[in-house]
Amino acid sequence: MTERVQRWFSALGRPTIYALVHLHRLNRLGMETLRWIFIEPFKGRKIRWRSVIEQSVRVGWQSIPIVGIISFFVGLILAMQSAYQLKPFGATIYVANLVSVSLTRELGPLLTAIIITGRFGSAIAAEIGTMKVGEEIDALKTMGLNPVSFLVVPRFLALIIMLPALTLIADFLGILGAYLFSISALDISSIRFINQTINALVLRDIVTGLIKSGVFAVIIASIGAYEGFIVEGGAEGVGKSTTNSVVVSIFLIITADVVFTALFYSTL
């Protein structure tokens, strides 16, 4: 009996300890990142803005096409699906409300975050992981260069700035999809759709969406960097960590989304 209890506890205990260790180290990496953003610059160790811009171009500019096309399609799909349900009531004009609100509050930030996890979060893990395996991280340290300041901070800042920006583009192009569908297939005039959208959307919808996307940016950057730094054992390890970074990021993004949506919902 006691043995079974013991086994049960150890089965429960090991993953818990694992999770706690990871959480502790992740927290340390987060603190270190914040220190290099908010404290060290005042001690004369500047943020590498050139690097921030390079990374911003990668994560932001170069992601516009894919984010744009996907959100345009999703807007189109949402419009068709809501029109299907609204038609029997003769209420197809409410497509504008449904699409614009669910995009700005929910799907814009979420879709963008998931695309960027695949495009950039995984790249962060793979790059830092490869550098770890090739002793490049150690080489940085022996030159007196801090890997967090050198590698993590630029990617972190680029994400924090670019993910909300991409989210706005996604919101806009999603609504554009719904707009094109509505004026061509639903006999809704252009001006009516636009008016309806403007009346339906309040600033709060967009802002809550952007707050979410800021949180998602933190998740993508931290998990990507963390998975990169814990890589062990060559190319295989890099592959494993890269995959992990995507799975864990998406899981945490959705979890955070639930929490924030509930929060915004209850304080509405």
Partner: protein, 263 residues
């Protein structure tokens, strides 16, 4: 003339998990000498080097560099020390996303206020020194193993260090290229009065470059002395190492010569 110990290792003990890797290492390294740390692979040579350059903190013991203990230093103090130390990694550890020139220039860009044009000139001088003139714009992936090591060396030399650590500089290279690297190390010592610590398990290069040899065995220093002294050492493990390695090296040489003749 009194010899000045620029690096002093005192009772250094370290663990990986529960396994004790270094078991109380004591070692003095004198200014301007080439010290070779010799030992079988897996005996803890790289681990010792990683401690000397501050990548790892020991469980116990001290490492004094110019009299100051680096094991208790904070990041800012350590950064100043590191500016005067260069390290050549076993796999060269070049930044693969940068060109060779950018690799060498990086420490200068980060630690000095020099003009871009000056940095470029200095980079070229360092590459010239290691025989890689004209390779600035190559990516590390376009270089051979020996050239990578040379580029790694150029980067280690960028800040004109007083101390240079080399982890198995000639491992994995053919004997001719390896000899070239050894010559380079000798040149650095003679021309720049650098203190150089070389880790290796290859006897061929040991006797070419070493002023002094320290032999590490299972985490302990079992021998310290000159090349002559090590050959006269009665220590059974030292003897065994010298003979075994000699046996290992010869067939390689033969094979290499054969391949030269054939081609």
């Amino acid at each position: 003339m009194e010899k000045e110990a620029i690096i002093q290792v005192r009772d250094l003990v370290t663990y990986y998990g529960n396994r004790q890797i270094l078991k109380g290492v004591n070692l003095d390294i004198y200014r301007g000498e080439i010290l070779v740390i010799l030992g079988r692979s897996g005996c803890g040579k790289s681990t010792l080097l990683r401690h000397l350059i501050g990548l790892m903190k020991p469980s116990r013991g001290q490492i004094l560099i110019k009299g100051r203990d680096i094991t208790t230093m904070n990041e800012d103090e350590m950064r100043e020390i590191l500016k005067k130390i260069g390290m050549l990694f076993q796999g060269a550890a070049l930044f693969n996303s940068m060109t060779v020139g950018e690799n060498v220039a990086l420490p200068l860009r980060e630690h000095t206020q020099l003009e871009d044009s000056t940095i470029q000139i200095m980079t070229r001088i360092k590459l010239d020194l290691v025989g890689l003139a004209g390779f600035e714009n190559f990516k590390p992936s376009q270089l051979s193993g020996g050239m990578k090591k040379r580029a790694g060396l150029a980067r280690a030399l960028a800040m004109d260090p007083e101390i240079l650590f080399c982890d198995e500089p000639s491992a994995g290279l053919d004997p001719v290229v390896a000899m070239g690297i050894d010559q380079l190390i000798l040149k650095l010592k003679n021309a720049f009065k650098m203190t150089i610590v070389v880790v290796t398990h290859e006897l061929a290069s040991v006797f070419t470059i070493a002023d002094r040899i320290a032999m590490l065995h299972e985490g302990e220093i079992i021998f310290q002395g000159t090349a002559e002294e090590i050959q006269n050492s009665k220590h059974p493990i030292v003897q065994q190492f010298l003979n075994r390695e000699a046996d290992d090296v010869e067939p390689d040489r033969e094979k290499y010569l054969h391949s030269l003749v054939k081609s």
